[in-house]
């Protein structure tokens, strides 16, 4: 394909991204105005803002995966995590800020899945930025109405003997799903186990990978 010359491809074969030269929207203008005022009044600096953006971008599901792998291997930590997930993850060294976290454990009997119907609440400090589909109207409206149909589209088909519990993150709590530990992983290290824990498995739309 690199040598095909289509109008929408660059000579290197990559699609052109259209220039972003539309006028600023009302809210973009508002954001710039507020930001410039905060800088002008000495409340924050451009360097602080850039550093905060870098911190946000640096968070990834790998953080949550470490929490899950530890819960799989350390029964005392698992108990702490289920009792008070904010304290347990903070003790593990994660900067979760003022986040009120609840950990939901998937078992053979119960499958948990998380949605925010009102907006896009998500445990960003542990999982990074939410995927685009998490914020879509389709995911938000259908997950509370027909969770098993949504899960099936993600490739997760559950037996009738498993109860599905949907968690609508409507107010101050954030949720992380602790997926079930896959079979055949008894001899893996915590580090190897963490590599099996996907982002979707911590939202509840996926399962942990098999080794």
């Amino acid at each position: 394909m690199p040598h095909d010359h289509h109008d929408h491809l660059s000579p290197s074969g990559h699609p052109y991204r259209e220039d972003d030269d539309t006028p600023l929207s009302y809210w973009q203008t508002m954001e710039i105005a507020v930001r410039e005022l905060l800088v002008e009044k000495g409340i924050t600096t451009p360097a602080d803002i850039a550093a905060q953006i870098e911190t946000m971008d640096a968070r990834s599901p790998a953080n949550g995966a470490q929490v899950v792998a530890r819960a799989w291997t350390d029964p005392a930590f698992r108990a702490e995590l289920l009792a008070d997930a904010s304290a347990a993850t903070r003790d593990m060294g994660f900067d979760i800020g003022p986040l009120n976290l609840i950990a939901l454990e998937n078992t053979a009997d119960v499958h948990n899945v998380v949605v925010c119907t009102l907006c896009s609440c998500y445990p960003r400090n542990l999982l990074g930025l939410p995927p685009d589909w998490y914020k879509s109207r389709a995911y938000r409206s259908r997950t509370v109405r027909e969770p098993r149909a949504v899960l099936a589209e993600f490739g997760v088909t559950l037996p009738d003997t498993t109860t599905v519990r949907v968690h609508d993150s409507t107010a101050d709590m954030r949720y992380i799903v602790i997926p079930a530990r896959p079979e055949g992983t008894e001899n893996l290290s915590e580090h190897e186990l963490a590599a099996l824990v996907t982002r979707d498995s911590m939202i509840g739309t996926g399962l942990a990978k098999l080794p």
Binding site: N100, V144, R148, T163, V164, R165, T170, D172
Partner: protein, 89 residues
Amino acid sequence: MQHVRVKPMMPPGHVRTPHYLRGKIGVIERSLGAFPNPEDLAYGHAAPALPLYRVRFRLGDIWGEDTPHPDDTLDAEIYDHWLEPADAP
């Protein structure tokens, strides 16, 4: 098990009680403590802390018994002033 009904109120403005749960009956899954009322916070008003609960609903009690898997559940966080005592549905 304490059953509660989400009050079928339709106030204007910023609220964090989804429409689809209003008037529905569930049980208190756990108390979460008190949090500043987002209905005041959203407008920069002084926001008294109100008790917040996780309420668990059967999907059948939200969408009707003909919904597939009516015994699957939905948990949501609902503020105290949106809840009233109720009998089991």
